[in-house]
Symmetry: C2
Subunit: 278 residues, 2 copies
Amino acid sequence: ASMDSGDELRAKFMEFPHVSAPHRDLMVELLSSVETRLGSSLQPCTLPPDVQYFGNPSGSASASLQLRPGLPSSQIDLILGGWIHCKLPSGGALNITSLSAYLKPSTDAPHFLLDLIQSSPTSLVLILDLTPRKDLILHPDHLKTYYEDTQLDRHRQRLHTLPEVRPYFSPSLYVRALLSPTAILVTIDVGASETTNIEEIIRDHVGPVAKELLQFWIESCACPERHVEESERAYLAERDRIIKNTTIEVDLGSSFPRLFGQDVADRVLTVLKEHYNK
Amino acid sequence: ASMDSGDELRAKFMEFPHVSAPHRDLMVELLSSVETRLGSSLQPCTLPPDVQYFGNPSGSASASLQLRPGLPSSQIDLILGGWIHCKLPSGGALNITSLSAYLKPSTDAPHFLLDLIQSSPTSLVLILDLTPRKDLILHPDHLKTYYEDTQLDRHRQRLHTLPEVRPYFSPSLYVRALLSPTAILVTIDVGASETTNIEEIIRDHVGPVAKELLQFWIESCACPERHVEESERAYLAERDRIIKNTTIEVDLGSSFPRLFGQDVADRVLTVLKEHYNK
């Protein structure tokens, strides 16, 4: 069998080889939920092998991406999972794992976004949100349906009861503007604590919240059919186009050249943009 | 002279009789800046006397409001200043002072919002923002012009260097959605500190930031003329209509009946809504 067959690349992706066991278990469990519940609505990963797995010339950084477009009949636009690993000059490593899920303009339900960014053994940045599809001021019904009536803020409040959790402010004002009013945007720092470690917090607190939010997104956002008028579809399509392209630029465009060199970054970002704008 | 002449009611408003000297000095200075720079574009206060100053039947709560509409030729829609004082059963008092300034749809520059909420001698909630007029995702130029190119986030960052300052999360998801990505939304708590008090923090930190932001709003938002297309004016007018009405409902509608009784609350809110929708 070829070293770059789809199955082998998917297996390599699912290994999450550089993160702790609870972190890997969480990502595998989230991806398995997507697979079980939504797999029949998704195409296999359509990325070329050298975008599914790649590294930098010196071998200090590696990454794996899996992008599965929704079937034409499905409400799912695409689901992107990924991990990035990079050895730091300090001797430590930067590890990022992420899962984003975009819906089509045939529904106005929120997208899903998860990023776990670990740049030291004792701290973690968590970004977890159902990102709004509409301006929540001009569309108060959108705020009510998905964020207020669902009491979505309780998940954020629950994490904030932990003494290790502090609010995190993204340096990107675009990212702050993108997120919902119930977005979980936190730094988890155990410092020199000998009684708590990040792995336990992922297992006992981050994991349950992430699983519950993904479950809610699958059952209440991705699956139910919504009636969306033609003019509204055009609005959603345009707003989503901006979201997808700006998110790539802000998120990956700013870090990939530094992590992987300009050539690899250009190759990967070009392919991702093509898939995002299909 | 009648006890309820406009001048006397304005003087009573400007007294801010229940807050500390630095808090009062700050409010008077902010209102004087508005007066000096924008006074010639504003009508006198148009509220009836019993809405300019009122209390609850038992006398434990009192408030003063001043609303000045912009002249027809001006870009200013209205400016509302206010203070609210309420004795608490615990023996302390709740004191709120605020300044909001709304622009007309002839410009798309941000509105101005300031709330200082003090419910104990040792803590203060500060809400200070230039609230966006447009969906920042669909209008990235709005984000760039007013928030990124102006480095507006530096004011928030500056306050967050103080150990007494923590992020504040409004219980209202609408308020969170209304605010810009650079909004200052903080709790300032000096606790049992013997070296710092709230008055010093207002004088040395909150004051300079509030004055700088108001100055920026006056010079770069309220005054410069912008070219706004007809279709965009309709968009701004509708969004502003929602903002003004929802802000009254969420902010005053939820607290006024409790503080002043239903009769007084109804009278004041009805008049304010009329003026907001003229």
